[in-house]
């Protein structure tokens, strides 16, 4: 193509000056746009560096090693007042990933259920699902987060009047406290049993699949697999005399000590974000299912497939191709929306970076760290979803 058009411009229509040639002009314009863009970016950066120098603000990442001097209320990795700022920021990244992962999983499940319910022939169920979608997707997420947070704080009693469940679990507006399992010596063997159970379940599933392909015979692989995964470690644990002890939470001083605690901040964040995003996912799922031609269902019924099987083997695989791409943007939204968590005191990356930025006076570096983090996570999610999308794409035979 390129040669032909180039040949044409040089050959037959030599009378046209080069600057009138569509192709040449196209290239020139692209160069100009890129140059202006680069110039613009360079100008912004140079201006910023210049301004920072004039204000006497240094640039550099050495501040990450300094002790933070401030504590955070929730962290998976151990942190304290002496932890470095870098470590506290890392804890924030993990908190963001944790909240995102939980919300992505729950919002997907809830969204699929609501989406299917909207298509239900049962009037009540489909109306309820419609009401859910129309309400939740139209209220700003921040408002919903604050609603859930205040609701939790008001519905649950103060620590001193915590709801006591068999002296094991305590629920108050400081969170839900449950016993913490403490593994003893032989606990490793239970883990090995669990691993063996998982491996066996996978093996049986692939064997059953091959057999069904060859002979058409079915095998209850789901139930057997689950039995292995749960059963083997259970038997091992019983045989070893339960190598786990439990640390039960206890009210000492101002708060419950010991045990694990699910704090109201994380709970409110997960509830709010899951409920909100599920309303969008439900619409995507509904659209995806509706897009599969009704003839497919009829054909499946004609072959004698049951409605459940039809949905699982015929409708869903085809609708997934339509559902997955918009789902990617919902997942990206979840990750980005975690930045609202600071409003309800969940220490996500954005809120910790906010503190760090104030304590260290390094806005540029702190924001850069956060931008790179969100960029990397978003790109990883996109890559994964694109891979998954290709995998499930219709294979034309």
């Amino acid at each position: 193509m390129a040669e032909i058009s180039a040949g044409r411009s040089r050959g037959r229509r030599t009378s046209i000056a080069w600057w009138r040639d569509e192709r040449t002009r196209g290239i020139i314009w692209q160069i100009v746009v890129v140059a202006v863009l680069c110039l613009g970016v360079w100008f912004i950066i140079a201006n910023m560096v210049d301004n920072l120098r004039r204000l006497g603000i240094p640039l550099g990442f050495d501040f990450l090693n300094a002790p933070a001097g401030f504590a955070i209320s929730f962290s998976i990795i151990p942190t304290d007042l002496n932890s470095s700022i870098g470590r506290v920021i890392l804890a924030g990244m993990i908190n963001t990933l944790l909240a995102s992962a939980i919300c992505i999983a729950l919002a997907t499940i809830l969204g699929v259920i609501v989406g299917i319910c909207r298509l239900s022939k049962n009037y009540l169920i489909s109306r309820l699902a419609t009401a859910y979608v129309e309400t939740l997707r139209n209220i700003p997420l921040l408002v919903q987060l604050l609603f859930w947070y205040v609701a939790i704080l008001q519905l649950f009693p103060n620590v001193r009047q915590a709801i006591n469940v068999f002296d094991l679990m305590f629920m108050s507006n400081r969170g839900v406290n449950i016993p913490r399992p403490i593994p003893e010596e032989d606990f490793g063997i239970v883990l090995v049993a669990l691993a063996v159970g998982i491996a066996l379940a996978i093996g049986i599933a692939s064997w059953a699949h091959r057999r069904q392909m060859a002979t058409g015979q079915q095998f209850p692989k789901g139930r057997v697999g689950l039995g292995l995964i749960v059963g083997l470690p259970l038997i091992a644990s019983l045989a070893l005399g339960n190598p786990v002890s439990w640390q039960v939470p206890e009210l000492t001083g101002f708060n419950f000590q010991g045990g694990l605690v699910l704090q109201p901040e994380l709970t409110a964040l997960v509830l709010g974000m899951t409920a909100y995003t599920a309303s969008f996912i439900a619409e995507i799922v509904r659209g995806g299912i509706l897009a599969v031609s009704h003839g497919q269902t009829e054909a499946a019924y004609a072959l004698g497939l049951k409605p459940g099987t039809t949905l699982r083997l015929v409708i869903i695989p085809q609708s997934l191709r339509i559902i997955v791409p918009p789902m990617t943007s919902q997942y990206l939204n979840i990750v980005k929306n975690t930045t609202l968590a600071g409003a309800i005191a969940y220490p996500d990356l954005f809120s910790i970076v906010g503190t760090s930025l104030n304590q260290t006076g390094r806005p540029v570096e702190n924001i850069a760290i956060m931008m790179v983090f969100f960029l990397v996570i978003s790109i990883l999610i996109s890559l994964f979803m694109n891979w998954y999308n290709r995998r499930i794409a219709l294979v034309e035979r």
Binding site: S73, N255, S351
Partner: protein, 346 residues
């Protein structure tokens, strides 16, 4: 090609303009704009909050007004830019505001690393703790293992860390972006204690469901000199901001109020018998103090006439007869045992 030239010219113009705009001094740009962009708290009763008529009022707001009166001759030529604790510094750094009067603590790192300058202190404060009376504690040192609500982006966060370390308390901070949420969560019992500047505690307590059920513990765990901040490197502008505050102090010292300033001015007319030379200099009757600051001769007269002296502003916004009911304490004039001391107007 014509487009390209226009584009290049445009970029060059933009580059030129933005450098030019930054080169102008803050005083000149405020005068050119005809209004002062003042960074204030988004809502802290007594310091900066819209009153029941929706008009900004408070001790910090009065400082904004006084600066506008001194520079522009009109205390109402202020554009208020409210911000939460975290957003305030970028606002000043980027030039969105000309001065930040937002109960901001003057500290070494803010003075140096953030690229700001401080000098005047319009409220000497310190960090305290508020708890529910029924907890039955009388000292902050009893807060072992307590949950404490804090606002993010404040000196408060780190002071709590320091106090915690020194007294081995193991407190659990719960940090909010907005003070509104922090206060609400404390009110609901999410935290045992709420900590911030003592003045802030007095202000926030007025917003609780039952203010009477809460006490502020006696410990003051830090020094929080709150004052206006400006961008570093514009010493004329820093001088103006500082001397506007000092003018309010000197006025109080000399007993000049918004009500009697005209009378005082008349009594101290040039050559008048028994005139006070410092009052004459302050009000621009003799000498040209205003001009050396780059202002008009009656800059301080405008401040006192339109806003009042420091004591008036204090009593009106946070004093005994307000819901905050704060004592003058450290903020009394130096002649009355306080720290508010202005260098001589000479």
């Amino acid at each position: 090609m014509k487009h390209v030239k226009t584009l290049v010219a445009g970029v060059a113009l933009l580059a030129g303009m933005s450098t030019a705009a930054q080169a102008a001094s803050t005083l000149e740009s405020v005068k050119a704009a005809g209004k002062l962009k003042c960074g204030v708290n988004s809502g802290l009763a007594g310091f900066a909050a819209p009153n029941d008529q929706g008009v900004w009022a408070g001790l910090d707001v009065d400082l904004c007004k006084a600066i506008a009166a001194a520079v522009l001759g009109d205390a109402n030529k202020v554009e208020y830019k409210p911000s939460n604790a975290e957003q305030r510094f970028p606002l000043l750094q980027s030039g969105e505001v000309d001065v930040l009067a937002r109960n901001t603590t003057w500290s070494l790192s803010r003075d140096t690393q953030l690229g700001f300058d401080f000098r005047a202190v319009n409220y000497y404060d310190g960090q305290g703790f508020m708890v529910r009376k029924d907890l039955g504690i009388t000292s902050a040192k009893e807060l072992k293992g307590a949950t404490v609500c804090v606002q993010e982006g404040t000196t408060t966060e780190k002071n709590l860390g320091d106090f915690d370390k020194a007294n081995n308390l193991g407190t659990q901070p719960v940090k909010f972006k907005e003070s509104e949420q922090a206060r609400a969560a404390y009110d609901e019992g999410r935290c045992d204690s709420y900590t911030t500047d003592a003045s802030g505690l007095a202000a926030e307590r007025t917003g609780l469901k039952a203010p009477g059920e809460h006490v502020i513990l006696p410990e003051i765990i830090s020094k929080e000199p709150l004052g206006p901040a400006v961008r570093a490197g514009d010493s004329q502008w820093l001088d103006i901001i500082t001397w506007v505050h000092y003018a309010m102090l000197v006025a109080e010292e000399k007993g000049i109020t918004s009500a009697n300033v005209d009378e005082v001015k008349a009594k101290n007319a040039e050559g008048a018998e028994g005139a006070d030379a410092e009052v004459q200099r302050l009000l621009g009757i003799t000498d040209k103090m205003g001009e050396s600051l780059g202002l008009s001769r009656d800059w301080a007269y405008n401040v006192v006439k339109q806003v009042g002296n420091y004591g008036e502003s204090f009593e009106r916004n946070i004093g005994k007869d307000t819901p905050l009911a704060l004592e003058r304490g450290l903020n009394a004039l130096w002649t009355q045992g306080g720290l508010q001391y202005a260098p001589p107007v000479r």
